[in-house]
Amino acid sequence: MPLIELSGIQRRFLLGDTTVNALAGLNLQIEAGEYVAVMGPSGSGKSTLLNLLGLLDRPNEGTYKLEGRDVTTLSPDEQATVRSTRIGFVFQSFHLVPRLTAAENIALPMTLAGIPAAERNKRVAQALKDFGLENRADHKPDQLSGGQRQRVAIARATIMQPALILADEPTGNLDRHTGEEVVNLLEALNAKGVTLIVVTHDQGMGARARRQLVMEDGRLKADSRTANISNLAEISG
């Protein structure tokens, strides 16, 4: 059973009186533990796909099965529970809560899930250590560097031990070196068995993934699992 199974996914947006097909007839299977890079030009539907996979958005048509269960028909609160327990997000702009400390930001998913403070503190302490943030626990996001912020965000995404991590251009706001570090962290998580899906513009980063998806106009233009992508740079434009 694949972790993710999309079939016939349509996602349309109304922009004025024109309809944009952000996702058009998408079929896709991703196995548990995979490391997938989603590439393609701007506006090709990468973010829309990721939002859909993260249950932040619903398709207009088609079904999405997560761990064998049709999640498109779930109620918003059931979807929230799935997000809480199974999915971790990493955003390009970090999305940390500015008034909370690094430790509190990392703990936030557990706080929202109602996990007791003792358990939270234990797990946060471990995460701070794992991500090299021990000395930054009480810093507010504006006292952290970009790389530290993204590490906090990744720590937050993994704190509920999700099966799936969705990262939308996680290195987009970072310099090359810091971006490299962040990718290493994500890959280490994948190595421990977490399914990793990364949207990226960076050819080099995309090439590091074990599977590449290239999107164009809401469709899957190429999938390295079904076709050998010999020239990634050319295809992903």
């Binding site: 997000r83 809480s84 809560v97 936030l108 998913p109 929202l112 899930a113 403070a117």
Partner: protein
């Protein structure tokens, strides 16, 4: 999310935006402070008047000579000419009525008191031994008037505190002979100082036996008959009996007025109570205004924190969690505002009492409770809409606003 976490989250969010938080707390606190101070004023006025009336005595029934048109309390009765004298014997006849505990006839006039060459004008009240307990006066030194035949008063006097002070200074007053008008009277008692009240100012009063006063003023009539009923419940029945008895004694004519302090008191109480309520109502409007402000502040908060709400959703927050977080924040703003307002109001009432010590400007409990709960309720009610708006935000749209 756990309750403690929700509260902490809401608190951090509120303190994270000090400007708007201060603003809404301020609005709410002004509203609550207004309720507390205005009701303290209103209820203070009520208490002041009620207190003044109560100081006249408890379960009091008062007989005035002359008939009042309406049968109610009419100050004009005090000065109208009397068709028939109200006599000491009239008063004496009331002592045997079943609902009556005490009766005191009262004749009043002004005279001069003279001791050791010092002379001053005084108010003279002619009454009996029971006058002092009926009126709740207290004896500071010596004793009250003696129990004796009402028609044969001995030559004694009880004097007010100020008179004692002025006439005797530091020397003992009890047992001294003073001249009041053309009589020589022995001082048997001194009243405790009470200060100025609604009734007589006892500090400048000389109390003498009623027959003596009548002889002094060369009159047969009484100014009042004071009756103390056995209990509050006995007042109406006793009032009727008094009226009936005096009517019989006056050849079937209702030529006296019987008033109960209760009736007067109840009227004032009701009137001033209504006033306080009206004032509280007006102050409550400011609470509603504060509630609307809290709503606006929370709506701004939802707009300001749209990105954060999107994030919370992405991190698995249910709409309920988000609703509760924003509701808790609104409740916190109004709760803190209410608390600050309560303290400000109590401070204001305290200041009022300092400046006007005779005026018991205490906010009534009902007003404090109503004010605080209205503040909390408006905060919550006006917090619902912003909270629901936050909970309904589309996560993808919300996340893009960062």
């Amino acid at each position: 999310m756990r309750l403690a976490d929700t509260l902490r989250f809401a608190r951090d969010a509120a303190t994270g935006y000090p400007m708007r938080t201060t603003l809404s707390v301020l609005a709410m606190s002004i509203g609550v402070a207004a309720v507390v101070i205005l009701t303290a004023l209103g209820d203070g006025a009520r208490r002041y008047v009620v207190g003044q009336f109560s100081s006249l005595g408890t379960n009091l029934i008062i007989v005035l000579p002359g008939r009042s048109g309406t049968g109610g309390f009419n100050p004009a009765n005090a000065i109208t000419s009397t068709p028939r004298d109200l006599t000491i014997d009239d008063a004496g006849s009331l002592r045997r009525l079943p609902g009556v505990r005490r009766v005191a006839p009262l004749a009043v006039g002004t005279s001069e008191i003279n001791y050791g060459g010092k002379l001053r004008e005084v108010m003279v009240a002619g009454s009996t031994a029971e006058f002092i307990p009926i009126r709740n006066f207290e004896i500071a030194q010596g004793q009250g008037l003696p129990e004796e035949d009402w028609n044969r008063g001995s030559s004694v006097a009880v004097i007010g505190a100020k008179i004692r002070e002025e006439m005797f200074g530091n020397t003992p007053a009890i047992g001294q002979l003073v001249r009041v008008g053309d009589r020589r009277l022995r001082i048997v008692g001194v009243l405790k100082s009470t200060g100025q009240g609604l009734g007589l100012n006892t500090d400048e009063l000389v109390i003498v036996p009623v027959s003596l006063a009548q002889a002094m003023f060369n009159s047969n009539t009484l100014f009042r008959i004071m009756i103390e009923a056995n209990s509050r419940d006995a007042i109406p029945g006793t009032k009727d009996q008094v009226m009936e008895t005096l009517k019989q004694r006056h050849r079937g004519e209702e030529d006296v007025t019987v008033i109960t302090q209760d009736a007067v008191l109840a009227t004032f109480d009701k009137l001033l109570g209504a006033l306080t309520l009206a004032v509280a109502g007006i102050a409550a409007i400011s609470l509603a205004v504060a509630g609307i402000l809290v709503m606006n502040v929370m709506l701004v908060a939802v707009t300001q924190r749209t990105g954060e709400i999107g994030l919370l959703k992405a991190l698995g927050a249910t709409s309920r969690t988000i609703r509760l977080a924003f509701l808790a924040e609104a409740a916190m703003l109004s709760a803190v505002g209410a608390l600050v307002g309560y303290l400000l109001g109590q401070l204001g009432a305290f200041a009022l009492r300092q400046f006007f010590p005779v005026f018991p400007a205490y906010p009534p409990d009902w007003a404090v409770i109503a004010g605080l709960s209205t503040a909390l309720a408006t905060g919550l009610i006006f917090g619902v809409m912003p909270a629901r708006r936050a909970a309904r935000l589309d996560p993808v749209q919300a996340l893009m606003k960062h």
